[in-house]
Amino acid sequence: MLSKASYTQLGSKLDVVVSVVLSVLSFLCAALLCLILWFLISESWTLIASGQWQRFFLDEGWYPLEGLYAMTPMIVASLALTLGAVLIALPIGLACAIYLEFYARGLPKKAFRSLLNLLAGIPSVVFGLWGLTELVPLIAAIKAPGTSVLAGAIVLSLMILPTVALTSAAALSGVNRNTLAGAHALGFTQKTMIIAVAIPSARSGIISGVLLSTARAIGETMVVLMVAGNVVQMPDSLFAPVRALTSNIALEMAYALGDHRASLYASGLLLTLIVWLLAYLASYLNEKSRVFARV
């Protein structure tokens, strides 16, 4: 029979084992992240080092086989697609969130929420397929070729819409009930209460959700590959076909060698850094909004 003392001893030994295993696992996760970063840097080093990275912005165009690596058109295209998607998804997503939190009740509320969750679960290739077969012809009817910034932004916006809507809804539901009761007690209309009190109270959470969605949109590859046109050029209108940084990697990695290959890794590095920055800002704001809600 074990005495009380040996129980404790056994317990503390087990504690040590568990803590070591958990530390090793967490360390591995963190190390993996560093490994990816190191891998991206080392593979693109030949072009990053010795000031060569400037060529990404100064070269005359993207002709990798001739040693010209200007990424500016693709960076601008990625930003335009992302910005367009966010501009479409933000008002619609916010409207969905307001409906969910302040107007929907009972079954419609449940159904609408599950619908948004379902939308979030659709694989991006399916969105791309839909965009290519349904949306692109519609846009082509206005202006050929149809594959364009507009098509990419619309399909991307549908992809990030559930994230914007659900994170905004969560932010709105986190608004102090006491604050909202105060607005009602002053005889505010529902509209004023939502616009002037609830949304400003939830702003950090809403912005945090938008940043996460932005990160998702800028990193998305399949959809933009399928519907944005893949022409490397500075977009001059919403109808211009463009190539995003992500699709560029997917399109060319199969045959890229030497500096060309390094330039693709460099664009991957750039994308990773942008997404990390956005994710960091999002979590910072989220933390801030939680502090806010506690007040």
């Binding site: 102090n176 006491n178 604050t179 009761a181 105060g182 607005a183 009602h184 007690a185 002053l186 005889g187 505010f188 209309t189 004023t192 002037a196 009190v197 400003p200 109270s201 806010f292 007040v295």
Partner: protein, 274 residues
């Protein structure tokens, strides 16, 4: 007949309250959450320019009662109200009334200060805009006056555009009172306005409530019996019976605290029950 008895006889007799001094008349009010009775059969006259305190243990329906008076309870679709609340010739329970106008005329202060997460100025500007004060100059004038009324002007006049949530708890509560006063209400409902504040802030807010007497009709829920005794003109004592709140005794505060008529009231205020 002692003086207290004379006063009691006056207070117990509704006829003795002149129509001008009666500001709101609550008759046989019952509040249900779904099928469950929360508070039953409350009859209570609110006298103009007087402070009426509601005392009693937690969960006896004081707050439910209070939120029925400005129809904030109507936001909860589970709540059902029976009885009558007469206010300015209308029956708030039975007539169809405009809740938004009613809530402008009946302000409310909550237990936890709840300024909006906006600037101090916006907190006061928003209610004015919402109730149609279009002139910016007039709004500014009213904001300054409201802040002066609650003794906050000197403390915040140089930082009106800073977040209201950066103020101390006591300052926040005074801002909330200013926010209610700025709409020039007739009645102020206060739900334990000092209970979340430190003793010093609590004292400041209590002094402020005393100054509001005469200009406003105040109904204040409080767990602080000494406070009720100090500041109120009338006191209603609520108690829970069979899981539902009811009013045990109502009367002039001095009489109620010195010589309660009901044994339960006596036990509660002496601290042997509750």
């Amino acid at each position: 007949m002692t003086v207290a008895e004379v006063i009691d006889s006056v207070i117990d007799n509704d006829v003795a309250i002149s129509p001008t001094s009666l500001h709101m008349d609550i008759r046989d009010l019952s509040i249900y959450y779904g099928e469950k009775l929360a508070v039953g059969g409350i009859s209570l006259p609110l006298r103009r320019g007087k402070i009426t305190a509601l005392i009693g243990p937690s969960g006896c329906g004081k707050t439910s009662f209070l939120t029925t008076l400005n129809q904030l309870s109507s936001l909860n679709s589970d709540v059902r109200v029976d009885g009558d609340i007469f206010f300015d010739g209308e029956n708030l329970v039975k007539d169809s009334i405009d809740f938004l106008t009613l809530r402008r005329r009946i302000g409310m202060i909550f237990q936890k200060p709840n300024p909006f997460p906006l600037s101090i100025f916006r907190n006061l500007d928003l209610p004015l805009k919402e109730h149609g004060v279009k002139s910016r100059a007039l709004r500014q004038e009213k904001i300054e006056k409201a802040l002066q009324d609650v003794g906050l002007w000197e403390e915040v006049k140089t930082r009106l555009n800073t977040p209201a949530l950066a103020l101390s708890g006591g300052q926040q509560q005074r801002l909330c009172i200013a926010r209610a006063l700025i709409l020039e209400p007739e009645i102020l409902l206060m739900d334990e306005p000092c209970s979340a504040l430190d003793p010093i802030s609590s004292g400041v807010v209590e002094d402020l409530i005393m100054r509001l007497r005469e200009d406003y009709t105040v109904v204040i829920v409080t767990h602080n019996l000494a406070q009720a005794k100090r500041i109120s003109d009338f006191t209603a004592f609520f108690w829970t019976e069979n899981n539902a709140g009811k009013m045990i005794e109502f009367g002039d505060s001095q009489c109620l605290f010195q010589s309660p008529k009901n044994a339960l009231t006596s036990a509660y205020i002496s601290g042997t029950k509750g």
